[in-house]
């Protein structure tokens, strides 16, 4: 019923002879929450980087809303509606929390050099609209009262949430979260799960997340894909994947 918004076909990617991804097919439907799991080094983040344009695939094609995006640069892909967070949180540390989120609005605003200097009516209007959106995003992730802090002064959990807010500010249709629960305590994790649900319900986003914490993945994903050694070894509902032998073997290792 829902249409496919992201489709990757026969993706291969190698780093100087080392195959990181081999013939991966992957598709996400609008409105889904999809989990991407796999052991360390399976190629999950590489797949993310291909979707967001940080790498160009060695072979294969990626379509987003039927538009070929493989080979485009990140700054070209983001405006099309894909946003991401990073495994090793990459905030703009020496910027205020609010400015971090405002940066997310960059691709939704137009003011050029002239407008910035003269502060034309349209640029002022645009700026105040961006501020409003940014404030909303901050309230949404519950950081409204920290907007004037430096991003590097936030706690770990707050930084994760700020990164999500910043990604949401680019107004994406597809949100990619790279290990959002890594390093969080159980309370923070529970809050995060709730936040991700809210993102889909209230903001109507499609979400793809990489996560090691099975509670998170199995708790919120409607569909889970498993990568191992650069290949997709399984895909299905959380229940199906948990019973899949290849997956069990991949996680427990050959020796088990």
């Amino acid at each position: 019923m829902h249409k496919i918004i992201l489709k990757a076909a026969n993706i291969c990617h190698s780093f100087g002879g080392l195959m990181a991804l081999k013939d991966v097919d992957f598709a996400i439907k609008s409105g889904e929450i999809v989990g991407l799991i796999g052991p360390n080094g399976a190629g999950k983040t590489t797949l993310f980087n291909l979707f967001t344009g940080h790498y160009a695939p060695t072979r294969g094609e990626i379509l987003f809303n039927n538009l070929r995006i493989s080979g485009l640069k990140p700054y070209q892909i983001t405006p099309l509606g894909i946003a991401r967070t990073f495994q090793n949180i990459r905030l703009f540390g020496q910027m205020s929390v609010l400015d971090n989120v405002l940066t997310g609005q960059h691709c939704r605003t137009r003011t050029g050099l002239f407008g910035a200097i003269i502060r034309t009516r349209s640029s002022k209007k645009e700026e105040s609209r961006a501020h409003k959106t940014a404030q909303e995003m901050l309230h949404f992730v519950n950081l409204g009262d920290k907007k004037n802090e430096y991003a590097s002064n936030l706690s770990y959990g707050e930084r994760r949430r700020l990164e999500i807010a910043r990604a949401l500010a680019t107004d994406p249709t597809l949100l990619l979260l790279d290990e959002p629960a890594a390093g969080m305590n159980p309370q923070e994790t529970a809050d995060l799960i709730e936040l991700i649900r809210q993102i889909r319900v209230k903001m109507d986003k499609t979400i793809l997340l990489i996560e090691h914490d099975m509670k998170v993945v199995m708790g919120i994903s409607e569909r889970v894909a498993v990568l191992n050694y650069g290949r997709k070894i399984a895909e299905g509902t959380p229940g199906e994947v948990q019973k899949n032998e290849a997956v069990i073997k991949a996680y427990l290792g050959e020796s088990a």
Partner: protein, 288 residues
């Protein structure tokens, strides 16, 4: 009444403030280490001086021509080199700066090594003050806008900036263009104050001087650039009383200042042990 010497110092402080603020945009806000600022200054200086000498345009028009000339070259030069990062960009801009100097040294039009004489004196303190205010005003407006946020985002984390939809090549080039424009403006004021130009004053030591002003004052701070420019313009003059020891002390002052306040007088202190500009040096660099 203020004497000519102090007037001259004030004018030089003003010109150096323009140089430092414009470099600050490139280095402090956008995080691109450029050691070729003197080249932009010389482009503006020669550009405006030649326009004045050959076409007799009004001062303001000559200044603008010089600045635009510098900006044009800033962009031409910036485009290919801006792919480079950190120290590599630094050394490339240094090399480009030297090339510009050598070209000026060999051009017939610019008087070559003998220099360009007879530039009319048009720069006054009023002009300089206006130019400083203009520079600071424009740069502050840029910094406090969407464009400024893009600059800072690139400084903080280019990869993350990219994924915010910021075209970092475009913004880095823009930043070089704007920085070169104001450096050219400073150069034009300088030329019409000194009434003589010779390429030898625009070597890499001059660029280093600008760099020191920005770092000393504090990166990414408008006031910092002004304060750095003032201190480094005035200190060597103050030290004239100690004659022989002048540059000896100057060198020691630089070392000590960095020891006492490595982030510069008005710079942001380091957070969590991550150096302010640590990240943009993070290009994969082959080791021994």
């Amino acid at each position: 009444m203020i004497g000519p010497y102090y007037l001259q110092l004030l004018i030089l402080i003003g010109i150096n403030t323009i140089m430092a603020t414009s470099l600050n945009l490139i280095l402090g806000y956008t995080g691109q280490l450029s050691i070729g600022h003197a080249a932009f200054m010389s482009l503006g200086a020669y550009g405006s001086a030649l326009v004045t000498l050959h076409f007799g345009f009004p001062f303001l028009v000559s200044l603008l021509c010089g600045a635009l000339f510098a900006a044009f070259f800033g962009i031409i030069i910036g485009l290919p080199t801006l792919r480079l990062k950190g120290d590599y960009l630094a050394i490339a801009t240094l090399g480009l700066g030297e090339i510009v100097r050598i070209v000026f040294l060999n051009l017939e039009l610019t008087g070559g090594a003998v220099g360009l004489r007879g530039i009319p004196k048009k720069t006054t303190l009023l002009w300089v003050v206006l130019a400083v205010l203009f520079t600071v005003f424009i740069l502050s407006r840029i910094i406090r806008s969407r464009i400024g946020r893009a600059f800072i985002a690139i400084r903080e984390d280019e990869t993350a900036a990219d994924s915010m939809g910021i075209n970092s090549t475009y913004y880095k080039t823009l930043c070089f263009g704007v920085g070169a424009f104001f450096a050219g403006l400073g150069g034009g004021l300088f030329a019409h104050y000194m009434r003589y130009l010779n390429p030898n004053s625009f070597g890499f030591m001059r660029s280093i001087e600008h760099l020191c002003m920005v770092v000393l004052g504090g990166l990414g701070n408008m006031w910092g650039a002004f304060i750095g420019a003032t201190i480094l313009t005035v200190t060597p003059e103050l030290l004239r009383t100690v004659a022989d020891l002048r540059l000896l002390i100057y060198g020691a002052v630089l070392v000590l200042m960095m020891r006492v306040r490595p982030q510069g007088l008005l710079g942001q202190p380091l957070r969590n042990g991550i150096p302010l500009l640590g990240r943009f040096f993070q290009q994969a660099r082959p080791k021994l």
